[in-house]
């Protein structure tokens, strides 16, 4: 059983609690392999109580617990040191409560974003989050990984929309934070604590979000430039204008290719009443000439999906993906410098950014020896830091990860994070060793 001590006795208890069909120990664990490491066991609890029981049993057996939603971010972080127990939440997939008049929804963590959105859209509302892989990504997973997409430019990220959580903690107890009202300052803001915590502090089992009405009209407009520099200047001009875009994307030629775009492209999203969308598209067209771009074209609605996974389709088999946070004004320059850093070492790269919020993704092509890839990534990180930001190595082969840390150094704040982890998960049961500051 993968060499983790205490697993055999644990398996018996898990089967007794969940029923044998909800406890996988054979080849059927293959979808849950992370970085070549097969978990000791994969379980599918069917209720919050069962999640609590599983965590208690695993903790008692000193087997680490890896919470699992759709698996879309499972490879983020250093690989798990041990096989451990994958706690899959897919059976907790109910839509608990949607009251359109309150513009809120409470939903269990294992429901996919797509099935949540389709239920909400049927009643004229939506959760204003548009991360990639919505058909697989779950509510719990998008909280844990702080997943977002292009519309974060106007509508913010999970932290701005999550108003309540129910969590199973490291000792198996159930804790609530926040609530189901849109404005609430009673007690500490536990929802914020779990956003982007990658399952290291507790397992989110249900969540309550603020919603928005579905806009009457939505449009994506593309402006093409010869140089990144000009595209960056155009993005800044849009930010400084009266326009209220929902998305502001910069794609270099490699990232734009799969969308049928040539050259460097600024993609601007608008929504609202038809007259608002028309007026904004017209204003943008008026700005285009003075910004040095070609005349704007309207992209099909299907283009939203690739924009959510920046530069993902640029190369058939990428060597590494790095995400970088910088100030919006530094985005285009960082993309230029990053491209050049890769080129100097003989590697092609593709870059895309949610430019208005400074969220940049760089993808390296053509896998070479790990040391070359690592050298480029190290340079990218240095560029991010020089621009006052930070970088996360979202995906790379293990050989590269062993040379380039996944997470940046969190500095003195890292010590506070370690103390939070020690307080809330003293026995280091939840997703150990995969997060910032060695957590």
């Amino acid at each position: 059983m993968g060499g983790t001590p205490g697993v055999d006795a644990l398996l018996d208890r898990l089967r007794a609690t969940l029923g044998a069909t909800n406890v996988l120990t054979g080849a059927d664990r293959s979808p849950y392999v992370v970085e070549g490491r097969t978990p000791d066991v994969v379980v599918f609890p069917g209720s919050v109580d069962e999640v609590g029981a599983v965590v208690q049993q695993a903790a008692a057996a000193a087997v680490p617990v890896l919470p699992w939603g759709g698996g879309t971010a499972a490879a983020v972080g250093p690989p798990p040191a041990r096989g451990g127990l994958v706690l899959a939440l897919k059976r907790l997939d109910r839509l608990v409560e949607h009251e359109p008049g309150d513009l809120t929804v409470t939903v269990e963590a294992g429901r996919t974003l797509e099935t949540l959105q389709s239920a909400l859209r049927a009643r004229g509302q939506w959760l204003s989050l548009d991360p990639p892989d919505a058909e697989r990504a779950t509510v719990g997973g998008l909280i844990a990984a702080d997943a977002s997409g292009p519309r974060r430019h106007l509508y913010g990220t999970v932290r701005d929309l999550l108003i309540g959580v129910t969590v199973v903690t490291a000792d198996g107890s159930v804790v609530h934070g926040g609530g189901k009202v849109v404005k609430n300052v009673a007690g500490y803001d536990l929802p914020k604590l779990f956003v982007g915590s990658y399952g290291t502090l507790g397992i989110v089992v249900s969540a309550t979000f603020k919603l928005r009405p579905v806009p009457e009209e939505e449009r994506l407009v593309a402006l093409t430039f010869d140089r990144l520099k000009d595209c960056g200047a155009a993005a800044r001009a849009v930010l400084a204008s009266d326009l209220i875009p929902t998305a502001l994307e910069i794609l270099d030629a490699a990232a734009g290719g799969p969308l049928g775009l040539s050259g460097v492209t600024l993609v601007v999203g608008f929504d609202g009443l038809r007259e608002q969308v028309d007026a904004q598209a017209e204003t943008l067209a008026g700005m285009a000439a003075s910004l040095g771009g070609r005349q704007p074209t309207t992209l099909p609605a299907a283009a939203w999906t690739p924009l959510a996974a920046p530069a993902r389709d640029a190369f058939a088999s990428p060597a590494a993906v790095m995400s970088v946070s910088v100030l919006p004004s530094s985005v285009a320059e960082l993309m230029e410098q990053g491209t050049e850093a890769a080129r100097r070492r003989g590697l092609a790269s593709a870059w895309a950014a949610h430019a208005g919020v400074g969220a940049v993704t760089g993808v390296l092509a053509a896998e070479r020896e790990a040391t070359t890839v690592a050298a480029v990534l190290t340079e990218w990180r240095a560029l991010a830091r020089a621009a006052g930001g930070h970088a996360t190595l979202l995906w790379a082969p293990l050989a590269v990860k062993s040379e380039v840390p996944v997470w940046d150094d969190a500095g003195p704040a890292g010590r506070i994070m370690q103390r939070i982890k020690a307080q809330l998960d003293p026995n280091n049961v939840l997703n150990p060793g995969r997060f910032v500051a060695g957590i």
């Binding site: 609530h176 009443l273 946070s325 704040a413 939070i420 910032v436």
Partner: protein
């Protein structure tokens, strides 16, 4: 800390003066009196010292002295809080942030500003206004309250319906930890590295440390604003108009409700143009692009008419708009016309429960032989029942407190919360079990221990006391010294 000997106190005073300078320490009882309460004068507590640092290093040095002496300490802004959150409930040190009030940096291109915690909220909007920007969170006390205090309470305001509360506008904080270390949580860029410590710090009511620099978003002023006043003969009609607006897919910048008692007080005081005989009025604002603003206003007018509004009018110009808002924002002051004192409640409910809960509020207050005025953020279900009373009448204050507790219970029962923007502080710590289980509170205590292991940073707040309510009950009202001198009013 009441046990400090005179000699010890003198020695400590000299040490504090060595940190912040001779003009930066208060320790005489009459000077300390000014800092014995915040905007909620039901609670009072005296500090041993009030100190006025001007740098983060000062704050860190002060905190290290407090830590060494095992002396409780609490940061204080303008003292406009309404839950007793900044009171030195166990004596010790009050660290006033009022001399750290600068705008340190404005980056218009990236739409952020770096400010000190003692900066008055509205002063930030003034500072960036000439460039066409403003700071969105707009608590009613924004002319006096500080950004640091807003951080502690995660303050809201009328326009948070569309623009979010304080935490939605904070990217990073430089804080002095309860052990006296200066640490950045978050920064100028989006996307936390690791846990969202800045997000957790906001709203922690001063129990996680003291913010010394704050990175906030500033927004471009909208191209256009439209303000609609809808007047109703029944309060239920106004409540259902709120739902009707939401049902039309509109997200106004603000939807505020004002009831009859409040309208009459406002009209007596300021004459803002609200009809005195109306049961309730809604003040609704849409903003954003010039394109479509008329359409949105028209849809709002239609929703109000269909809900039974007897009159709906759109402010003809900026002067009329400001007058309508003056009525809303001055409502608290206007209660002085109709009552010697009042207590502001702060609860939140799901919007759809408005008609039921407003009815219950009126019943509860009436059952205690009191009157209530309601002026609140209807769009996000954030109630502010203001219970009117006369503190000179024996027993009346106790009835106010009892009615307040019952109202909070109703908010909890319908799935709401016991505070939308004023915080828990001292006032509501014993109400926390209305909405949180023992396990929830224990988890929060552990989170607090991670930031504040000694517990010296703002003790006695947020969490329920182990004492019975009777033992720790509030003392009788008397006017705050600055209120007596006419320097401030309670709002």
């Amino acid at each position: 800390m009441a046990t400090l000997t005179t000699d010890r106190k003198s020695a400590l005073r000299r040490e504090l003066e060595a940190i912040v300078g001779r003009g930066g320490v208060l320790s005489e009882p009459d000077e300390l009196l000014v800092y014995e309460s915040d905007g909620l004068t039901l609670f009072r507590a005296l500090a041993d010292f009030v100190v006025f640092p001007t740098t983060a290093e000062h704050v860190a040095a002060l905190v290290r002295v407090a830590d060494r002496e095992a002396m409780p300490f609490v940061a204080r802004g303008a003292g406009t809080g309404l839950s007793g959150g900044c009171l030195p409930s166990e004596g010790g040190l009050v660290i006033s942030m009022m001399r750290m009030n600068r705008v340190l940096e404005v980056d218009y291109e990236n739409q952020i500003a770096v400010v000190e915690p003692g900066l008055v909220n509205l002063h930030l909007s003034w500072a960036v206004g000439p460039q066409g920007f403003y700071y969105a969170p707009d608590p009613s006390s924004q002319q006096a309250c500080t950004i640091g205090g807003n951080i502690a309470n995660n303050s809201g305001g009328p326009h948070t319906l569309k623009y979010g509360v304080t935490v939605n506008h904070v990217l990073g904080l430089e804080v002095v930890t309860p052990e006296g270390e200066i640490v950045w949580l978050g920064g100028k860029t989006r996307g936390a590295l690791g846990y969202d410590l800045a997000g957790v710090f906001v709203g922690s009511e001063g129990t996680f440390g003291i913010a010394t620099k704050i990175v906030v978003r500033i927004l471009r002023k909208p191209q256009a604003v439209k303000t609609v006043l809808a007047v109703f003969d029944q309060i239920d009609q106004a409540s259902s108009a709120v739902s009707a607006i939401i049902a039309r897919g509109l997200v106004p910048a603000a939807v505020e409700m004002i009831d009859q008692l409040t309208i009459q007080a406002v009209e007596d005081a300021f004459g803002c143009g609200y009809p005195r005989d109306a049961a309730a009025a809604l003040l609704i604002e849409v903003d954003g692009l010039r394109a479509g603003i008329e359409t949105q206003a028209a849809r709002i007018v239609e929703a109000c008419r269909e809900s039974g509004a007897r009159e709906v009018r759109t402010a003809a110009d900026e002067a009329e708009r400001l007058l309508l808002w003056k009525g809303r924002k001055s409502a608290f002051g206007a209660y002085g016309r109709v009552s010697p004192a009042y207590m502001v409640m702060d609860g939140v409910i799901p919007r759809t429960k408005l008609p039921y809960v407003l009815g219950r509020v009126n019943e509860i207050v009436a059952a205690h032989g009191l009157r209530v005025g309601n002026v609140f953020h209807a769009g996000d279900g954030n109630l502010h029942p203001n219970i009117l009373y006369d503190p000179r009448k024996p027993g009346e204050e106790a009835r106010v407190v009892a009615a307040g507790a019952e109202i909070m219970k109703v908010c909890a029962e319908v799935g709401g919360s016991i505070s939308g923007e004023h915080g828990i502080g001292l006032e509501k710590s014993d109400f926390m079990p209305f909405i949180f289980t023992a396990a929830d509170l224990a988890f929060m205590q552990r989170l607090k221990s991670a930031f504040n292991p000694t517990g010296l940073c703002n003790p006695g707040k947020v969490f329920p006391t182990r004492k019975s309510c009777g033992e720790a009950g509030p003392v009788a009202y008397r006017p705050h010294p600055i209120e007596e001198r006419g320097l401030a009013q309670r709002f």
